[in-house]
Symmetry: C2
Subunit: 431 residues, 2 copies
């Protein structure tokens, strides 16, 4: 009876969430690591290439390998659900952003973010070109892009746990990570655009690609900036015309999240990735009076769905390819750490006039790639731009950079830090 196919998808949905929850719990409780890492590792363990492969069923945990791993000949139901999950995640992240502080601390943070994008991207691009020449320009671009991102969630979590979110270094990291995320996501859109152009024509016309990239960048920033300004300047009108009609029925948060999904699609029409739209849609609502209400009712949806995304990502790691790409992964990890640390240290130290210890904290604090790196690598895999072993290497970078950051940060936190509230007198002390 064919209806059983649907039942098996339900089981798979449940099993992925279950594995994610258990993995997240174990990592948090016994390894004192963010749950997101446990979700990812759980995914690697239950993937069709590991435990899942032991279940001899074409769907249960093995859907990814139905009719060729990521061929769309057969729609991958779980892929659509994971897209829905990551859109919910980015939407809530957008709503949670403090838009005011975001704009005020913008310049230093922007410079740190840009420094933290240029170096890792360059390193990632050339390391991949050197060690995986067969991946082609699209593959090199994707790995470069995957190294640019900074995980806001993981960084904030670490800063909070160390009680240093309110320091000058902490604020700089926060703003830098937010801007970095946006840049990373815009880069993702550009890279997706280029890789599809490469796939379509075969001919690699650098002038055309540069022009195309510039176009995407311009349109992307314009759309993004427009939505941001709408959110910041016109939030009263958003409340009045968009949200208020749903006040009486108590469905403002649901309606806001639906708008997030619609905008997530709409930005794809100008070649941005849906997650950019979801994040900016969230920002749109971040300055409204309904913010707390929206967060209160959409966060549970996000908390339920987001682990699905990370576990699903982990499931796409083919562990059998780990050793084949081990050298590449190790060199990429070194490139990722050095690129971020140096790329962020320099602007913080010389433009932001932070102390050496503070600048080191900023540099190292920006190292974890976390979920955004995974989003970019996952998009590359989906677009067919990077192979499974390159994807595995990118996942290793996300995983390892996140795992080692707390230990690297600890020595610098022992040094004296400037509280952010006293930044009016621009101090230039070394520790």
């Amino acid at each position: 009876m064919e209806i059983e196919v649907y039942f098996k998808f339900i089981l798979t949905f449940g099993l992925i969430l279950l594995a994610a929850r258990i993995g997240g719990e174990l990592f948090e409780r016994y390894l004192k690591q963010p749950p997101v890492l446990g979700e990812l590792v759980a995914g690697i363990i239950i993937s069709p290439f590991a435990l899942g492969g032991l279940i001899h069923d074409p769907i249960i945990l093995n859907f990814a390998t139905v009719h060729g791993a990521f061929g769309l000949h057969e729609f991958n139901v779980m892929e659509v659900i994971s897209e829905i999950a990551v859109i919910a995640l980015l939407f809530v992240a957008g709503v949670e952003t403090d838009v005011g502080a975001f704009l005020k601390q913008g310049l230093t943070g922007a410079l740190v973010a840009i420094g933290g994008v240029i170096l890792p991207f360059t390193f990632g691009y050339f390391v991949t070109m050197w060690l995986a020449p067969g991946a082609g320009i699209a593959g090199w671009l994707f790995i470069g892009a995957a190294l640019t991102a900074t995980s806001i969630g993981i960084t904030v979590r670490i800063l909070l746990e160390m009680g240093t979110l309110q320091t000058r270094a902490g604020t700089t990291i926060l703003v830098g990570a937010v801007i970095d995320d946006i840049i990373g996501i815009v880069i993702l859109s550009i890279v997706v655009g280029i890789s599809s152009a490469v796939k379509a024509g075969g001919e690699i016309n650098m002038a055309y690609i540069s022009l195309d990239a510039l176009k995407i960048l311009a349109i992307g920033f314009a759309v993004w900036f427009a939505l941001l300004i709408i959110g910041v300047k016109l939030n009263k009108y958003i409340s009045r015309f968009l949200l208020n009609p749903f006040k009486k029925s108590g469905t403002i948060p649901i309606f806001a999240l639906i708008i997030g999904f619609i905008i997530a699609y709409l930005v794809t029409l100008v070649d941005l990735h849906p997650v950019v739209g979801a994040y900016v849609a969230g920002l749109m609502f971040a300055a409204t009076d309904e913010r707390e209400d929206i967060l209160d009712k959409t966060r549970p949806v996000m908390l339920f769905l987001a682990p699905f995304f990370f576990c699903y990502l982990g499931m796409q790691v083919d562990t059998r390819l780990f050793w084949g790409g081990a050298i590449l992964a190790i060199i990429l990890i070194v490139a990722a750490v050095l690129g971020k640390a140096v790329g962020c240290y320099i602007p913080a130290r010389f433009f932001g006039k932070l102390s050496h210890a503070e600048s080191m904290i900023v540099g190292i604090g920006m190292v974890p790639r976390g979920e955004v790196g995974l989003i970019i690598a996952g998009a590359g895999l989906l677009a067919g731009a990077i192979s499974r072993d390159l994807f595995g290497a990118a996942v290793a970078v996300s995983l390892i950079t996140t795992l080692i950051t707390p230990a690297m940060l600890r020595p610098f936190f022992k040094m004296q830090l400037e509280p952010v509230t006293e930044t009016d007198k621009p101090s230039h002390q070394d520790e």
Copy 2:
């Protein structure tokens, strides 16, 4: 670019939720009707057979017609998501149920369910035999079977929205609907068996079919009852061993909902429908100390997803088939309403000793056929036992019975209802 397929699914997901929200809002505000009806009607309006058909895209709002409306040859992504939505709905309904009251109303509910199966089945069988003699015994059986089902989803939603889930009448309906669903699925198995026997040899081995049906019935009830007893009697152990490990990380509600999805699948192994499992899983947690916490965090997930299910249901109605079988449909609707209302009123009034108003609420509350009627009719269509216009008539029954129920219920809700907590003194009041 194939990745756009995914983006289009995201858009469709967003559009369905948007249409549902607007439809629900309009119905609630201007027609003073439960939002669920607005969601259904919104679905009919945006279906591939109406507005959606104007969008010349194979996916956006038109996914249902890809490779045949109900053929499962191509997996329907949206179908899986709608299953997830209805499971979340039934899980939350289960958690919200007052388990003590549920057990107290068990016998009455069972009798209500049986009464609500016998009459509609008989009516449906003979009306079809009279108006569509060419359909043959298999066709008559399928239409009869389609009339027996009660949509727990729609009934629960209406009860929740009217705040009457906790009343004695509400609990009786719930018990009746759950048992009804089990009976309905057993009947479906019987009917499928008979119709395939008719198609194959013409010889109908009633002994074999009866034995098979009896087996499904026994196993189904045993599993369902076991889960119910576990929830009621062993809730302290559920808290201690299943939920407490997730207390510190605040993920008890998410974990409970995940368990709901797993159990929803597990019951399908004994031929029960997933929604029955989801509901019983919810019941398992309804008696735990963590109940409020679970409700608080899973209700937003349900409120976000449930409208998708109802709108999606509406989208499967082919409005063009309405006129062909109009007379049959109208008479079937009358038969369906009368059969359920009378068949359920009598046990409620005379065995359950409910008041006239309460018994009317039970009788009318059991009227909506919703998704289970559609599942049975769809199975008949798939098996070739019923024709397209008979199918259209069955869809009309599901739809109209659902549309008219809230309006029929309203007058009786204005009368005094017994809270279920005071059932110790078996009242026998007329309003």
